[in-house]
């Protein structure tokens, strides 16, 4: 399964503190995201990735040596559930 983020122009993002407010233009819904949801979205901006690809991208950019595949899969499922990430 590959995960795809919306194109950058579909999202308005306001960094607040530990959270970012994200306005999803196609749905008009506002989301409040904490780490690692923001980083996952950023990793998926360039191209769709599968679970291993997301894990690799996040490991490249951030220190997440102890990240488990299951935890990452759960976060991706949440993002798919709220409509911010598409799974295909």
């Amino acid at each position: 399964m590959r995960y795809r983020a919306p194109p950058p122009e579909a999202l308005l993002t306001a960094d607040l503190d530990a959270f970012a407010a994200v306005f999803h233009r196609p749905s008009g819904i506002t989301h409040l995201l904490a780490s690692p949801a923001r980083e996952i979205l950023a990793a998926l901006v360039d191209a769709p990735l599968d679970l291993d690809g997301v894990l690799a991208a996040l490991s490249d950019r951030f220190d997440i040596a102890d990240a488990s595949r299951a935890a990452l899969a759960a976060r991706l499922d949440e993002l798919v559930g709220v409509g911010l990430v598409e799974a295909a």
Binding site: L12, A14, L16, D17, A18, F19, A21, F23, R25, G28, T30, L32
Partner: protein, 284 residues
């Protein structure tokens, strides 16, 4: 409509029509120093629930451009309350020019303090007490945020005092004009107070938001900082048109919470709250 009254409150114009003269007379008296709108933004109708209810146990149904199907009719004696509720409802459901925050607001030196909280938190009372201390009263129901400028516009409608707030306002402003005491309304005892002349005269002047406060009545004095993300969530809940405003609402709210320091205030009485607000104002 048999009887009509038009008024502009801040940037919002209303046309109120009524089957009865009494509510229109009360509005005309209490809003006597307010201007008339060039063109009303919203129309409110106070109608008899049935034709014969104009005379027999007169009962007011709230109607207008926007209505809530579950809104209960009110007796004619509470006509002023019906009119005020109907005007608020039109703005809450129909307002699109401004991001509407359910908040009271006072101003000093071009900078505004916005206070929001659930019903009973003391928004109206606190704004009234601060106005008695020389702050300009900008409104006790809605703060209007302009998405283009980030400025807050005043909506100084009649101040709706409830229960214990009535005595507190009378003590603070014995010289103010008040409407009739409306007893046993669905919201308890209510009495409307006319904002002071300075507030009405300056109502076209917007202000820069400088402090966001979340007052909570009934606890020992305590103040704590509120992070921007928590403010964002609280204010989406305090807005009646955040969703309807779409992108413009998101931009206005994100800017407001990023640029404006926010604090939660617990307070045991009005005097303590005023002291807490003024202390925060000095160190903002």
């Amino acid at each position: 409509m048999r009887h009509v009254f038009c008024v502009r409150i801040g940037p919002i114009g209303f046309r109120v029509g009524s089957d009865w003269r009494a509510p229109i007379d009360a509005l005309s008296d209490l809003y006597r120093y307010y201007p008339a709108p060039n063109l009303p933004d919203f129309t409110v109708r106070l109608e008899a629930t049935r034709p014969w209810r104009r005379w027999i146990r007169p009962s007011i149904a709230i109607a207008g451009d926007y209505t809530l199907p579950e809104a209960a009719p009110l007796p004619l004696a509470q006509g002023l309350l019906a009119a005020e509720m109907a005007m608020n409802l039109q703005l809450a459901l129909g307002g699109r020019r401004y991001l509407l925050l359910h908040a009271s607001c006072v101003e000093r030196d071009g900078q505004a303090v916005l206070m929001t909280g659930e019903s009973g938190a003391g928004k109206s009372t606190l704004a009234t007490l601060l106005a008695a201390k020389g702050w300009r009263f900008m409104g006790d129901e809605f703060a209007l945020i302009d998405p283009d400028t980030g400025l807050v516009h005043a909506f100084p409608r009649l101040i709706s005092l409830k229960n214990a707030g009535i005595a507190a306002a009378l003590a603070a402003r014995p010289d103010a004009r008040f409407g009739p005491l409306l007893k046993d309304t669905p919201k308890g005892d209510i009495r409307h107070m006319v904002p002071d002349a300075l507030s009405v005269g300056a109502m076209d002047e917007p202000a820069r938001p400088a402090l966001l406060l979340y007052p909570h009545y009934g606890a020992a004095s305590e103040t704590r900082g509120v992070p921007a993300s928590e403010s964002f969530v609280r204010l989406t809940q305090a807005s009646t048109n955040y969703v309807a405003m779409g992108e413009a609402g998101f931009g206005a709210l994100a800017r407001l919470v990023r640029e404006t320091p926010a604090h939660a205030i617990d307070y045991p009485d009005g005097a303590a709250a005023v002291a807490q607000v003024e202390a925060l104002w000095r160190t903002r």
